[in-house]
Symmetry: D2
Subunit: 352 residues, 4 copies
């Protein structure tokens, strides 16, 4: 058995950082050797610096780890970044420049032409941008690979097999997003109780852009986005976790709901073929009930890594309409980047 890769988490005390810690604590390929956080936390025991919010207990092996500063030099080969958007930009570049592989959940570099915005099931070929990235930026060993926005990953997983089979022409999507997507402390309870907040800053733009980039093709060192339009309505609802999306889609080919269901059920992309540790089997769960998926009941499907689909039916205006649901802090954040790292490792792109 080969040695485990030593990994660190940047922003390890926050909501997404805790999910990284939970997913990496007993990981078969990775060993958690560094927990980095803000200067206020650095030097403290992780258990003291972190207000643990997940329902499972804090993994025992991290309780006494000492939080380190968020700067190159920390003891690991790869870092998973749960940093907020603004600081993430330069910090992640500094780590990559210093030779670390950076798997980022931040939005800072998602639109850089030479940075892969990756879902292993959808666009593993975009990893070819890593070579471009190193050329362009003069990095020898380091790199940055990003995972998409939490709403975008759900929609893109749902669209990928039907775009491949039938061609997507246009999409209207409405999200009902759980509270954890806003981080901690995030949404005040006086705003969320008995309410819906029909606005999430920047979210609709990400949801219009990112799926088209991931479903696009790499040409000469950058990505040509897929040629269709997405209109998004994004809403915050009083559920803890899980992003539920209603989707109306127009397709190039005329299809029945049964054909879409077949496309989803028969989808067996690369991470599932490689049987990667975090790859859900199957990646998409199509539910037959009239009222599923539901946020609370289905967000944990595939240990939070599967996307659940349901209510596939004809659309009066477009061709087909359906529901898609995913876990926003696992498949939509920490789990997404962990799977990205597993894919690169399996493909021999990580050498330490």
């Amino acid at each position: 058995m080969r040695d485990k890769i030593r990994v660190g988490v940047l922003g390890a005390t926050g909501a997404v950082g805790q999910r990284f810690v939970e997913l990496l604590a007993d990981h078969p390929y990775f060993e958690l050797s560094a927990l980095a956080a803000s200067d206020a936390s650095a030097g403290r025991r992780y258990a003291d610096a972190c207000r643990w919010m997940l329902s499972a207990d804090m993994p025992p092996q991290v309780i006494d780890m000492v939080v380190c500063e968020t700067a190159p030099g920390i003891d690991c080969d790869l870092v998973f970044s749960a940093l907020p958007g603004t600081p993430a930009g330069p910090v992640e570049e500094a780590f990559a420049g210093a030779g670390y592989g950076v798997f980022s959940n931040a939005s800072a570099h998602r639109r850089d032409p030479d940075v892969p915005l990756l879902i292993p099931e959808v666009n593993p070929g975009h990893l070819s941008l890593v070579a471009t990235q190193r050329d362009t930026r003069g990095w020898e060993r380091g790199f940055i690979v990003t995972n998409p926005n939490c709403s975008a990953v759900v929609l893109t997983m749902a669209l990928a097999p039907i775009h491949a089979a039938f061609g997507v022409r246009s999409v209207v999507v409405n999200t009902m997003q759980g509270l954890s997507g806003a981080g901690y402390p995030g949404v005040p309870s006086l705003d969320s109780l008995d309410n819906v907040i029909p606005f999430i800053g920047g979210e609709e733009d990400k949801l219009s852009f990112e799926p088209r980039r991931m479903l696009g093709k790499v040409k000469e060192g950058s990505v040509e986005p897929a040629d269709f339009a997405i209109s998004a309505h994004c809403n915050r609802v009083p559920a803890r976790e899980g992003h539920l999306e209603t989707v109306s889609v127009s397709l190039v080919e005329q299809v029945t709901p049964e054909q879409l269901i077949e496309a989803w059920r028969s989808w067996h992309p690369l991470p599932q073929q490689l049987n990667l540790h975090s790859a859900p089997q199957p990646p998409i769960v199509v539910r037959p009930e009239p009222d599923r998926p539901q946020t609370r009941l289905d967000r944990d499907a595939g240990r939070g890594m599967a996307v659940s689909i349901g209510r596939v039916r004809p659309c009066e205006v477009f061709d087909i309409k359906f529901l898609a649901l995913g876990h926003n802090t696992i498949r939509g954040a920490a789990g997404a980047s962990v799977l990205n790292a597993e894919l690169m490792l399996a493909q021999g792109m990580i050498n330490v």
Copy 2:
């Protein structure tokens, strides 16, 4: 000052029935003279038969009223029906046949060709069907007039002025509907807490059909629906009251968001011209904030009778997208039928 019209409420102890009682208790044109409910309640004091759920106290004048049976013969000239769908059909016909005017919130007769499905601001001309109805059914004085489904009234109010001005071509709507829409006991808390339920039986069909009927034209004693398609996604969210809807709309004419806002703001339909007691002034409130309307903050606009609109912006797939919100048990149920009665009274169609 003329005498008040004596009115009754059918299904007076339920969730919508209580709203009727609240709205009619101090009404300037109507006097509440009969409260009808199920056989189990008949003969009891209203305060004993009814589990009052509204936050304001039960109006003092109804506390000691004795609940009567749900059958013609009760002491009033008009009845407001908050009956459930199945019993509503024959019971409402029996009342109309016996000479009562029936204002119904039930869905039983909404699709009868000779029954007006009415929003006074939108299609007051459809009241001409009352004459057809009497001819067809051999009723001399009685009639049935219905109000639309709670989601449909919000969408139809929003579409009416822009359909008149620019022509609607197609609509994709996603609802996030409050719990009171399911009545009492309705949704179990184990289903609603920390969850979204993406299914409401029959609702999407109503929302596809009813707005087109109300925006249609009466021709030879029946209604020709407006010629456009509506695709609906209906969801139950954990908010007490208020139905929030995201709408993407394609229009015949090319317009800007500002033109739509102007059409909504300048709308001054008949009930507002007549200054009817329950007619909100203005009927539509266009909010300028980036994150409004919100369910809790805006559902009570215009004492629950106004529709609030916001986030009017270009749609990447259609022409324009926006939010619409209304109070489902006031504008979407009891208040809707009360306003229907006020309009008929003002137009001399109620003689007692």
Copy 3:
């Protein structure tokens, strides 16, 4: 008709500040002439500086008022203080020293021996401390009068008539407190959803101390607390507003539940005798139902100024147990100080 007294609100943009604005906007004795807030807000329109959170709309007359700085010199004779605890101390003294009457909701001066901690129904005689205060501090016209903690006012109102009639010997109280008591942004929704938080910093100490002070007697310029013990358990529950308390009480005299109910129902203290504008009639509502008062249904009793009591029954350990409920931001905060000011005005203690 005499002129209205000109009043200001300190901390006017916060949760309690907004309640003060709502209650004072159309007040018959007071005219809102100054809205003070933090330096960041000063100079801005109130509508721009304030994120209005109450369900009724912002009163039109305050929308365009310009927010002023929180320092003496502002244009009014009395100030209502919704300042946070720490800054409240010196700021309120500065205002009182400059000649303003200060009615404070802050905890800073509640334990000063010469400052009245006042509930007009309970201890109007404690206003004699104002003279002591002026002597001690060398203030000619200004003064500070405080209202109690939001949980303490509910318990003290409930205890006052039974302490007077039968003598309280000891009390065990458990609170279930609404979210608004923590201010805004206050409790994160990730902490409140599907949870109870059994800890509120400093609350149990206030609830053990303040009722005994208010039920005590003024002797030689300071208050001798009532001689009984209170043990408090304080919890935060996911309800918007309203503090519900379960109370077990031991009394000096042996009494029946009916005797307690009679004591509450026949209570007619000074503010009700004087028919003060904000004094609820009656001050205590005793509910007969087996499951009332409930937070949502009863918090607005007496426009949020009444305390509701229910389930009065024998206690297996003490003598009697019962429920008490009050609205924490009205009777428990802003409304409390407004009633304090009304009482002093009615007693000729405010001359401008």
Copy 4:
């Protein structure tokens, strides 16, 4: 390895029944061979008859099991009863009379003098009543053993070690109970959202009686209850699962909080000594944080079988006050009866 005991669940489709199914599906000592439910469900596949509500998926092995009728003759040796109170009485007797061991969560037989009301950690000796029961009722092999009410098990676990060490003299307890305790559909969301319901029918009486019975001693074939009084206030709060209780206790001996904590931490009762499958290690978790246990964060401690205690501090009225929390449908219902069965099996009291 011995064969597994074949067991059935009565009321297998309800909220507690589902927990039994979940806990027994992969149990090392028991094999789930019969699922009984109402006549309407009998003959259907379990997956069709049951609206599965737990967040983990339905165990695969029960999906295709055919639901049987609720009458002796079903294929198993022991039954776990999740029946509602009224039918449970005669049905459980019929099963016991027919030779089945009955482990009941219902309240029907909890007060029968010859029926053990059992918490294995607290009163394993009460199992001697099984012999009395067989004598009295003429049962050869069958028996009934009950588990306590969900609130009572939490309080009794907390009191047991301190009663043994220091003697309990009196208790005032206030519960804040999760929604699942009311079963399904249970509490309507219109009642629970933004509310506390301070009444649960029959609960306070059970909580006053059951702990004293379990802490009592068997004398001549019946139980002499422990000699102290309990006063209970029971409330329903909007949390999914978990019953949180605040407790003020008076003790015979004068003790410090530290002494109580030591008594809880050093408690190592019989099920833990026997290392029974469902026995949590440790049975009581004492939390050091100032704001724990919290309902959502701690209800799953010890896979839902441990009781969490916190905030142990002096009480101003009694001696000590503290918090106790347990999972109401695991430790407070299904898990309780499963542990009862494990204890009897380990003690050789189940022979099949």
